[in-house]
Symmetry: C2
Subunit: 263 residues, 2 copies
């Protein structure tokens, strides 16, 4: 993944690496818009290439579009599902555009998969809360929900701007981060030698929290990364959070630097 999202060549390499072990990659899970945690969006060119690769290798795509309506200006890009109905499961949710507490989302799936999903859902939970579903349905049919989405887009954009400004002002050289065009998250890369998981206790002591990058990798890597969420706090708190985090990063660098120097 880079600034344009999933790297098509890396997808091919991953499929071939699985095949080399005698197994078959069955599906690709991906968040094309405003990725959680990376904050990047798959470019239109790469969307086509990912679809082609998936079709060529018989790979089902699970397209998780939880944040798709929460863009900060640009036109929405075409969903992978819009390009290839049969090979894409499209997931979304009302958790980000209405309220998370209802736990209601939806799936557009090819028929053969849909039947299996219904069976799996029945076996696991019988059915989701009808009350929560009714609340969402009534909200959508009686309230100006697109206006509310517009409010969310403006609010989250202000918070993103506050975070990006504060990062640019306060973070030490060697730190880098993504510039999300929507959604909730900035993905930050620490200067070499720092470990976001080791740093977390100090951050929490300074009353600023994040998710260490290792939580998003299956192979134990990701220690130089961390996910920052700007969705909940207002801009002033976002700025204050980045200020505290920058102190924690500076402290960690001060501890790491002499060690590096002795090598």
């Amino acid at each position: 993944m880079d600034g344009e999202g999933l790297i098509p060549e890396a997808l091919v390499a991953a499929i071939e690496a699985v095949a080399a072990t005698g197994r078959v990659a069955k599906f690709l899970y991906t968040v094309p818009n405003y990725h959680n945690p990376a904050g990047v969006t798959l470019s239109i060119d790469r969307r086509e290439r990912v679809l082609d690769i998936a079709e060529r290798h018989g790979l089902l795509i699970v397209e998780d579009d939880a944040y798709g309506l929460l863009g900060f200006g640009e036109e929405p890009r075409p969903a992978l599902r819009s390009g290839r109905r049969d090979g894409v499961l499209y997931l979304s949710t009302f958790s980000k555009t209405f309220a998370p507490g209802f736990r209601v989302g939806w799936i557009l799936a090819p028929r053969v998969v849909r039947e299996k999903l219904v069976l799996a859902s029945e076996a696991q939970i019988l059915c989701p809360s009808m009350y929560a579903q009714a609340a969402v349905a009534i909200y959508l049919s009686t309230m100006p929900w697109l206006d509310q989405v517009s409010v969310f887009r403006r609010v989250y954009r202000e918070r993103r701007d506050a975070m990006l400004d504060a990062l640019a002002t306060l973070m030490p050289p060697g730190t880098s981060w993504t510039t999300p065009a929507g959604g909730f998250y900035v993905w930050l890369t620490l200067p070499e030698g720092l470990d976001s998981k080791q740093m977390l206790a100090g951050a929490v002591a300074a009353q600023v929290a994040y998710v260490p990058g290792t939580g998003f990798f299956a192979d134990g890597s990701g220690a130089r990364h961390l996910r920052l969420a700007y969705c909940l706090p207002p801009p002033d708190q976002v700025r204050e959070g980045v200020r505290r985090l920058s102190l924690v990063v500076h402290d960690a660098m001060a501890v790491a630097a002499p060690l590096g120097a002795t090598v």
Copy 2:
């Protein structure tokens, strides 16, 4: 299972039958109160014996008590869980005493199992609807919910009485059924030679429905049984339903009888 519920000797036989195949029975799932679908309640004497058998064989008990508060007069019997905390998972729900649409229930579980359940729940659904949980919590803390349970007990008792009276009046000889002391269900056994699954289409055509007994057996048996629910329709409709069902049973007997006679 008979009128007193789970037969302890049958439980021992089942544990030994599994052991004879080289496997180990891991848990017993049981509904001690107002059983779904059988409508029977485990006697106090048998509760002790089931607990002893489970302890002796290291068998975890999953005690599903969805209907425990919906008894028709008698004092509630002690939960299996009350007799042996460590070996019993106790499940219940607000679906039968508040409203089914909230999909909120609870589990009392030994600590070691509880941690696994939390992980399994997080992996499957992240968390249940907070909104639905809040609705239930507010209902319980602000409304006279035990009075409402008393209303349900009276209402369901009237419907059960209507069903039992109608069955006694209308069902042909050779038919038998359980007498539930609570809950929602009567378990009916058809005269020999009848098959509740074959009979279902005719019943639905007569606008009366039930669940064929085969749905409650893992081994394909149960064809002579059917589950009748009296919880939803008022007494007059319950009586009318039994009247229609009795016609369907009489018809099925008329078809089956000559075949039987030619054997």
